[in-house]
Each structure stands twice: as C-alpha cells, then as structure tokens.
C-alpha cells in the first residue's frame, strides 16, 4: 500500500471483494466498510437485518469504521482517490457526489447482466425482458466480449 493508492468504499449495496471496483482500484488500494447506525435507525432496520449486514462485512476481513460515511471517507482517503460501486440509493449517491468536491471519485460498475438500450420501454417488465433477453442469456464473458466488439464498431 502506498500513499498514492486509493481507497475503496465497500458500501451496503456491494459488500464484496469480487466486485470489479476492487480490481479497478488496484492491489494497493485499501477497502473499508462503514457502519452507520443512524442510517439503519432512519430506515427502521430490525436487529436481524443489521446482523446480516454486519456479518457480510465482517466476512471480508477489512477495516470496519463506525460513523458517518462522508467524514470517515474524507479522513481515511485524505486526498487519495475513492473507488466505489455506483448505487441508485440516494444515501450512497449523495455521499459520492459530496466527496467529488475535494476528492477524485471513481465509480466502477458491477459485471453486466444484460445490455439494454437506454430508451427501452420500462413501463412494464415484459417489454423490458423482450429486449434484455438476447444478452441476458449470454454468459458474462460472452456479453463482455460482445460489448467490446460493439464499442469497436462504433
């Protein structure tokens, strides 16, 4: 680990070291998990939900901090890049947006499940599935390979 390596925010939507964010951050990057009980209180999480989440985090053998993500990430990163899986959860998204003010924030997507045009009709599931099916039925390897080909074509 060198002072130039980044840190990885392992948040509650991506409690894994197999997520591509870890490889993208490089071997020297430090993954950390942050336990924010105020957020759990606000969401009304029961003890069993909290225990499950804690166990998943504990399983990774990474440092677990307790407190508010914004301040802990700032302090631990201390100017270094922060890698994280993007999330639609406003709680996570807001933290990442806020950190962009004074840090390099690098979002890294999960391995793709399907390739879906952005203008797909999402009003009902089956219209979505009819389009997603073609690539969702490919293995991730095939899907990634075909993604690269279509990028090259473009």
């Amino acid at each position: 680990m060198s002072v130039n390596d980044g840190i990885i925010w392992v948040h509650e939507d991506a409690i894994s070291l197999d997520h591509p964010v870890v490889a993208a951050a490089g071997p020297g990057a430090q993954p950390i998990f942050i336990w924010d009980s105020h957020n759990h209180d606000a969401l009304g999480y029961s003890l069993k939900r909290r225990v499950f989440i804690f166990e998943c985090a504990l399983d990774l053998d990474i440092p677990i901090y307790a407190g508010t993500p914004k301040s802990i990430l700032r302090e631990v990163a201390n100017g270094r890049a922060i890698y994280a899986a993007p999330s639609p959860d406003p709680y996570i998204a807001h933290v990442l947006i806020d950190l962009q003010k004074d840090h390099e924030v690098v979002p890294v997507d999960a391995r793709p499940f399907a390739r879906i045009a952005s203008d797909v009709d999402t009003r009902r599931f089956f219209r979505f599935w009819n389009q997603a099916k073609k690539t969702a039925m490919l293995s991730t390897q095939e899907l990634e390979a075909s993604q690269n080909t279509s990028r090259d074509d473009a």
Partner: protein, 274 residues
C-alpha cells in the same frame, strides 16, 4: 491507511473470528438506538460462503417447474444479491453452466426482474415512495389507511395463513415470493392500507429488503404500477403451499370464495368480474 488519520476502525483484525453471539453483541453495541425489544436474529448467516452454498443448490430446470410453490426449488439468494455479496451476472453464469439455455430461461428471467426494478430506481427515484399510477381498485389513495395496523405487524390478524407468513418474516427475515404476494394483497386489498405502510414494514424485516424490488412489487400488487390489482383466494394458497401452512376454511374465512365473489367483496366499485 494514512498515518495522520485520527479515526480508528472499530474492527480491524483479519484474524478475528467472532462467534454469533459476539457478533450480535457487537451489532447491539454499535446500534445504540436500536430498541431492545427487537431481539430476533435470522438463521440465515451473512457470508460469501453461505451465498455460494445456496448457489450450489441451484437447479434452474426444477426451479422453472416448482418456483411458485412455497416449498419449490427457489434459491434463497436474495439477501446476498441485495447486498452485492454475489452478483446477478455470477448467478446467471452458474445457471447457464447447469442447464440448456431453454431450461435456464425462466430462472434468468426472474433474475432480470431485479435488474428491471434497479433500472427503474436509477431512472425514477421518485417511484420508490410515490404512487406511479392511480389505484385501479375503484378507490382513491385517500381511501387507504396510512398506517399498518398492529395486528398485522404482530402476526395477529386472526387469518391463519397470513399470520404464519408474517411470523416467518419476523423470525427469519425471508419469505417466499408467493407468501409476499399474499401478505401484500391482504394488507392493501382486504385491509385497505396504503402499500407504503406495508412496504415500510417489509423493509424493516426482509434481509433482502430493497427499496426498488420491494416497493415496486408492492405497487404492482396495489395496482399503482400494474393494470389491475393482484388478489388471491384460499384455494390458491392451498394449491401452492405444502402441509406446513394452515389453509383450513375455519381459520381463514375471509380468504375463502371464488375469484368473482372475492373481487366483488374487495372492489365493490368496479364492474363485476365475469
């Protein structure tokens, strides 16, 4: 970690192996505002090894045939997927490795539901707590109660199968998709409670509790994100549940009847169902 960091992790010992009671004590310690009355812990343990164990039991072909049965070959992977311990891409790859694409398709289509709800969440965060469309039940939103009655949250409704499903949710943090549909329909249509109240309750307890999958499924049942309300009858519960669920008439009277009868009872302002 940077040397000038003032804060210290609460856990930083790669060799630390806590037993479950130590984990629970630690979680309580780190959750000072958690009411002490809440003392249930799920038998489902959070770890990658557990996720892989569940994944190892995957049988997409049997899944396709039995998934609607409460004792069918569903995977129990949702808590792990919800928290990213395992990805839908990894699960799909496993499914494709086990069966022909045709046999695996139903299972992969179910995985796609998660992707679908997540996409909607990303693009329309306002869908999560607001009605996407009006109710199609013959009632307006203001006809529905704001809060979940206590008999529901305590599994004491007096409707035996519903109480069993809620009790299972409270103790394990997981119930089968069909049980979720039954409970949600009971809350929205039999009790005429806003889907938001039911969704909030599920999110407190489901280990897989996810704002998108949960709230948009509730909206699907309520009819605020579907063409018509989802409802069921006792016969349907009987058909899909094994012997462990109490589906006797005398303990589930309000659910008994033909679809036409129940429809007329639940949605008296709509045209009769023929």
């Amino acid at each position: 970690m940077s040397d000038n960091s003032q804060i210290r992790p609460v856990i930083f010992d790669p060799k630390l192996r806590l037993n479950r009671s130590d984990v629970i004590a630690k979680v309580r310690d780190l959750s000072p505002n958690l009411a002490s009355v809440d003392d249930q812990v799920s038998p489902i343990v959070g770890s990658k090894a557990e996720a892989l164990k569940q994944l190892g039991r995957l049988n997409p072909a049997t899944y396709g045939r039995t998934r609607n049965h409460l004792d069918g070959a569903v995977t129990g992977l949702s808590p792990f997927v919800r928290h990213g311990v395992i990805s839908t891409a990894d699960i799909r790859d496993q499914a494709l490795g086990l069966n022909t694409p045709k046999e695996a398709e139903k299972f992969i289509q179910q995985l796609a539901w998660r992707e679908y709800w997540q996409k909607l969440y990303r693009e329309n965060p306002n869908y999560i707590w607001n009605d996407v469309e009006p109710y199609k039940t013959g009632f307006d939103a203001e006809h529905y109660a704001d809060d979940l009655p206590e008999d529901i949250s305590q599994a004491k409704t007096g409707v035996a199968c519903i109480d069993q499903f809620i009790a299972e949710l409270l103790t394990t943090g997981y119930i089968h998709n069909h049980a979720r549909l039954y409970v949600a329909a009971y809350v929205c249509h039999w009790r005429r409670v806003k889907w938001q109240a039911g969704a909030r309750f599920f999110l407190m307890h489901l280990l897989d509790g996810d704002p998108a999958s949960n709230n948009l499924s509730w909206q699907w049942v309520a009819s605020t994100f579907s063409h018509k309300p989802y409802f069921f009858n006792l016969e349907n519960v009987e058909k899909f549940s094994g012997d462990s669920v109490d589906t006797r008439f005398k303990t589930n009277k309000t659910l008994a009847g033909s679809y036409e009868d129940i429809y007329a009872r639940l949605f008296p302002n709509l045209e009769p169902k023929t």
